[in-house]
Symmetry: C2
Subunit: 290 residues, 2 copies
């Protein structure tokens, strides 16, 4: 007869809200909506509502969302951390609220996280480039303080040294994980004498790669003959016929599903899964830009 139970009062007594919070750094990067969809599909199926919060790579905003969600007694949290500044994140862990980290680990002993093997992925990408004959390969990265970036950089340097190539610091540039940053960095890289220029670029994500490609084309060079470009993530647009970006694919949607089921285990009290690090395998998708 039109009666709606009041979930607030319910939550007060049951100490369970059938609600989880999802915090991501950039809803505008197609990578995150894809994992969010995986999480949401799994959550809906299990009777949960997910509250998606976007921090815009802003640590303050992240902390604020964290507090609000905790106050609101969400039963669990899935966080794609926007910084390595773990002081506020550590507080969460210690407060006992069930949390799963995605896409990047944080420095906390028993944090549960689901990440991709960034080192391996980057290494595969760069080794592929080397195989194709490239010797001067640039690294165009995102934010320096983000582990994702550090790990992909590590894979890059590892691939170089595995193949007896020296690391040229002038070919390593970082900015933010956005398209305009890739565009800006690549334009800088192209300013140097033609003989010192890289012949290939490994970009730390697809958005950066898209910016790199734009800069390359605007400078009258063609891809991949003058400049090979490889990205990371395999967002949907990477497969467009006009783009055909060679990139390291992450299982985005499945990562989301896995994140929720792992959180579910945690919430059900399966303490054994706490502190678990789940490492997923990347796969290099070869298309036409590199």
């Amino acid at each position: 007869m039109g009666y709606q139970p009041n979930a607030i009062a319910q939550g007060l007594v049951k100490k369970e809200t059938k609600t989880i919070g999802l915090i991501i750094p950039d809803i505008t990067n197609p990578f995150f909506p894809e994992v969010a969809r995986g999480i949401e599909d799994a959550a809906v199926e299990a009777g949960y509502t997910v509250f998606l919060c976007n921090t815009n790579w802003n640590a303050e905003r992240e902390e604020r969302y964290l507090n609000v969600l905790m106050q609101k007694q969400v039963d669990g949290l899935i966080i794609g951390p926007s910084s390595e500044e773990v002081s506020h994140l550590g507080k969460i862990l210690d407060s006992g609220i069930k949390t799963v980290f995605i896409s990047r680990a944080i420095n906390h002993a028993n944090s549960t996280c689901i990440i991709i093997d960034n080192v391996l992925g980057a290494q595969q990408a760069v080794e592929y480039l080397i195989q194709r004959g490239h010797r001067k390969i640039a690294f165009v990265g995102g934010r320096e303080d983000i582990s994702t970036n550090r790990e992909r950089l590590q894979g890059y340097t590892q691939a170089l040294s595995n193949n007896g190539l020296a690391l040229d610091e002038s070919l390593v540039k970082t900015g933010s994980f956005k398209r305009d940053s890739g565009y800006f960095i690549m334009n800088q890289l192209l300013k140097s004498e033609a003989c010192n220029r890289p012949t290939a670029v490994f970009a730390a994500n697809d958005l950066l790669a898209l910016g790199v490609i734009q800069a390359v084309k605007e400078n009258g060079l063609s891809i991949p003959s003058d400049m090979a470009v490889v990205g990371f993530d395999d967002i949907e647009f990477a497969s467009l016929p006009e783009i055909q970006l060679t990139t390291v694919a992450q299982p985005k949607y499945d990562m989301g599903k896995l994140a929720f089921s792992t959180l579910m285990e945690l919430m059900r009290g399966g303490g054994y899964s706490s502190g678990r690090k789940i490492l997923l395998d990347p796969v290099l998708v070869i298309r036409e830009t590199g």
Copy 2:
């Protein structure tokens, strides 16, 4: 001293949760993240937390989210409806919860909504195509039962009749608002005899246009000489140098900000803004596909 007020108990007595719900049909379509960001930025500034829910164009899921959000006593709701089936939406309005509809109006007397003039936008796009000499222009639409689609179709037919062109039913096709749907429809359209083929396509959104373009290219035709394509929305990827999609732009981010400030007015009890329909102006962005 580490004390966190319990927002649940607070909400119970204060009947205010400093929380709003945002329901959108497809987080995977870059159009929505962009408006969500506008909403979120405005909300955070005003001390609100926004709970983003993605219905996947699924009316059942929409209703479910609606109920949960109502139970949770969100102070307000911003909804991008995923269907015109307003029975459950009407219930919401009648329950008195402050609501702003975005991107499509619903059939309810005093609903407040922020929409773009779809008829005008489509008309501009198609008239541009006619101006460029096209006589056989196809309409590739999204879901038939969505007003957005109907209105854009209406603009299309209006542009034709304004210019003394007959409406050819065989050139009007609808599916869903996704890329694969555009791809599928265009392939069908290209099956007909070359002489009956359209020379231009107006797609009801950019995702569809991207699918159309893919089909056209795979059939060995070039754009825009063999087939001109115009989209709708102006998502970020439309401006990529490889894409350069001609499209009808919507002020996505500002639409989000406006949606929140309008909701704020409603929540503050400014009854005068209830039932208001805010109609935004589209602008045709001419690039290289048409």
